[in-house]
Amino acid sequence: MTTDSHALHSAAGDHGGHDAHDAASHGSLQSYLIGFGLSVVLTAVPFWLVMTGTITDKQVTALIVLALAAVQIVVHMVYFLHMNTRSENGWTMMALIFTVIMVVIALTGSLWVMHHLNVNMMPMHDMSQVP
């Protein structure tokens, strides 16, 4: 019994040592600078696109802006939050995937349902014309 729990405690110790690699994988100066450089570019380009109106088609501009935002979120996750599939035996990644699925359902579901609700509502008068 006691020997058993000792063995378990040493296993726990090993477990703790194993966890230490999370702290070690906390990024280097280089990774922070790469992340920062990418973020600056990925922030500056959409602002520039919208402020100058270089692309006249608004829909295309919106799509590019959204795509750049998605890329920048990934850059932040990797270079600043040090996301990887190994940390905490993959549980952080699992939680992230679950959250992303929830966010996608909440966002697309709300927008989709409310859009159709608006389209199928009785035609409304333009409120700005009401005296």
């Binding site: 019994m1 058993d4 729990s5 378990l8 405690h9 296993a11 726990a12 110790g13 477990h15 703790g16 966890d19 999370d22 702290a23 906390h26 990024g27 280097s28 100066l29 922070y32 600078l33 992340g35 920062f36 973020s39 600056v40 922030t43 959409p46 602002f47 919208v50 402020m51 608004k58 501009t61 919106a62 802006v65 959204l66 750049l68 935002a69 920048q72 979120i73 932040h76 996750m77 600043f80 939050l81 905490e88 549980w91 952080t92 939680a95 992230l96 679950f98 959250t99 929830m102 966010v103 909440a106 966002l107 579901g109 709300s110 927008l111 409310m114 409120m127 700005s128």
Partner: protein
């Protein structure tokens, strides 16, 4: 016979396997904090969805084009991005156990965060002064809720930052303080990720609407 009874009385019967082992202090804190951040992410997702649904309902009031100043938003974004990288430097100096350098980088991070909050409050004050209050339209209600919640998070992050600076000044970079600083690091970078969503969905796409 009697011997067998005696042994069965002295040895306690075990009905379960001991599979729970002792964890080192704070070993699960980072995962737990990450789960908190994910739940926070859901709060912001709901606020983004609300803004997405109501963002076009101006009630004949001001639209994004009348209100937003993209130069100010770009400046604000720069402040938050700078605070993110300086916090990263604070983490790097923390790993080298340089207390003074860590404190200095934390202070710089705090100043950038303070600048962000200051600029945001100026923007809000300007909008409210122009009559674009949260009560004006559904667009403005959802705008103030979403952006205000993010600002509130940054404000509490600043309170946390100052608290940790006092802790580090008092007790140095002990194990507990390192763990706290790593939690705040995740919190701070997470807020920067949320801000990417805010300036894209609210400000940039609002100007394109």
């Amino acid at each position: 016979m009697t011997v067998a009874v005696a042994t069965s009385l002295t040895t306690e019967p075990v009905f379960h396997l001991i599979d729970e082992h002792a964890h080192p202090d704070g070993a699960s804190t980072m995962l737990g904090f990450w789960l908190y951040l994910m739940s926070d992410c859901l709060i912001f997702a709901i606020l983004f969805a609300t803004y997405g649904v109501l963002g076009g309902n101006y009630a004949a009031g001001p639209a994004p084009k009348d209100l937003f100043d993209l130069k100010l938003v770009a400046l604000n974004t720069t402040m938050l991005l700078m605070s993110s990288i300086t916090y990263g430097f604070a983490m790097l100096t923390m790993e080298k156990s340089q207390v003074r350098a860590t404190q200095a980088w934390l202070a710089i991070t705090g100043l950038f965060g303070l600048a962000f909050i200051g600029i945001e409050l100026t923007e809000f004050a300007h909008m409210i002064h122009e009559g674009a209050t949260p009560q004006r339209s559904a667009f403005l209600s959802s705008f103030f809720t979403l952006v205000g919640t993010h600002g509130l998070h940054v404000s509490f992050g600043l309170v946390w930052l100052v608290t940790l600076m006092v802790q580090v000044a008092r007790y140095g970079l002990i194990e507990a303080n390192r763990r706290r600083l790593m939690c705040l690091s995740m919190f701070w970078h997470f807020l920067d990720v949320v801000w990417i969503g805010v300036f894209t969905f609210v400000y940039l796409l609002g100007m394109l609407r």
